[in-house]
Structure formats: C-alpha cells, structure tokens
Amino acid sequence: MARLIRMDSTGHSTLAEWTAGDQASYEAAVEAFRRELDEGFIAVVDEGEGRATQVRELPLDSELVIMRRPIAGG
C-alpha cells in the first residue's frame, strides 16, 4: 500500500493511500496530492542511499510520497 503523507505539527498526517491496481484510490490520492501542491507544499520521493527526487505528478509505483514545506535561509 503506497502512502501520501504530509509533514506537519502532528509529526505527519497520512493524506491518502493507494495500490497500483485500485484506480479509484489512486485518483483520490492524486486529488489530495494536487491540493497540497496548490497549498505550497513540495512533493518528494525518497529513493534511499541518500537520494530523493522532487515530483510534480504523483508516481503510481512509489511506496511513500512526502509533502514538505519549502526551506529558507535563516
């Protein structure tokens, strides 16, 4: 089961879950994903071994997509 999560004040919130074979759950996840992008979040897929990729479309085959806020210099 793939998950779309958002890092927030609660630690993190699960926004959607989907499986590759379930189109309806994926579409619901895409809707939640786009809503978060519109709110200013950035979507990242961690690929392990110190690599991560920023994504603009919800990848169907990723296990975990993380929404994060932008960073700024202090």
């Binding site: 999560i5 890092m7 927030d8 004040s9 609660t10 630690g11 993190h12 990242v44 961690d46 110190g50 690599r51 991560a52 990729t53 920023q54 993380i66 994060r68 806020r69 932008p70 960073i71 700024a72 210099g73 202090g74």
Partner: protein, 192 residues
C-alpha cells in the same frame, strides 16, 4: 553553489579572519616590544585577536543548536526521520541530534535549523530552516534532509553561510553530544 565556489567562500572567510586578527596581534605584540607599561593595552588587543574568531565560530555552531524541546508529535516525527536514515546515521542522529548525509560537496550534518558541511580542512556552517514554525524537531531535520537530497547545490545556495573555518573552532562551541557527529563527519571527509 558548486565545490569551487564553496572553496572560494572558505578562503574568503580565512582571509577575513586574518584581517580581523593580525592587526590586533600586531598592536599587542608591538606595544609590548615598545614599552612594558603598555602591557594592559596590549593584553586588550590580544584578547580582541582571540575573541573575534571565537565569536564567529560561536555563530557557526549556533546554527545546529537545538531550538525546541521534544513533544508528543516528536515521537511520530522521529519515526519518519529514522525511516529516511540508514542504521548508522539513525544511531548517530539519535545520540547527537544531527543527521549525517554524504553529498557531492562533502559530508553534511543536518540539524533543526541549520547544517554543517565538512569539506576538506574546513567546516561550513549554514543557517537554513523549514518555513513551518510548528513542526516538531525531527520533522524540521527531515525537511532539510529531503531538500538536501533532492538538490544539494540548491540547498547550499538557499542557506546562509554563517561561518567557515577550522573544524576545531566550531567543535568546542558545539553542544557536547554534537561533537561526536562532527568528529564522524571529519573522519568520513578525510576518507573521501
């Protein structure tokens, strides 16, 4: 920001430190040579030569100082951060509060509101933070870690360079538990 630009920044910091320190050293030593009665003034000048680099190093070390206490959501955030780190990095983060990440520019040690970059003989102290002020501490680190992993040069460009200089200067200004992380970063930086 690339490796060459980073090295230039490091050299500029070294030059800047020399410009601060050498005149005061010169004044201090010169006064002592001219007249021993000027010793109190010479000592003040020598103190200036000592304290200016120390204050800059303190500013550098402060970028990774913990800024908030653990809370209930922190345990959830700690779990997510742990999932992002490999076994050794997870242990190091839990004991020191800094997440280690090897990058093209060097070895990064990421804290809640800043990061140290160990590269060559210098440590670069970057002030950078997640824009959501309500995040638990581990989520702040996870934010920075993911941003670093997805675009290291962009991360270093967005971050403000607070200090660059000898690791020993920063080390003694760090919280004691964080010194182990800097030592580990230096060991890895020497090997690579």
């Amino acid at each position: 920001m690339d490796a060459a630009y980073l090295r230039r920044q490091g050299r500029l910091w070294t030059l800047s430190m020399a410009c601060h320190v050498v005149p005061f050293l010169g004044i201090g030593v010169g006064l002592l040579l001219l007249n021993l009665l000027a010793a109190p003034v010479a000592i003040v000048a020598l103190l200036h030569a000592w304290i200016i680099p120390e204050l800059y190093a303190l500013r550098g070390a402060n970028v990774v100082r913990s800024r908030s206490q653990p809370s209930e959501p922190e345990s959830i955030a700690q779990g997510l951060l742990g999932d992002l780190l490999d076994h050794d990095a997870r242990d190091l983060q839990r004991s020191t509060g800094l997440a280690m990440q090897q990058g093209e520019l060097g070895t990064w040690l990421v804290g809640q509101a800043g990061a140290l970059l160990v590269s060559g003989r210098r440590v670069y102290c970057f002030c950078v933070k997640a824009t959501d002020p309500d995040l638990p501490p581990s989520d702040r680190i996870a934010h920075l870690l993911l941003a670093l992993r997805s675009d290291e040069r962009g991360f270093a460009t967005v971050a403000n360079l607070a200090f660059a200089g000898a690791p020993w200067r920063v080390r003694r200004r760090l919280d004691p538990e964080m010194r182990d992380a800097l030592d580990a970063g230096r060991r890895i930086s020497v090997r690579t």
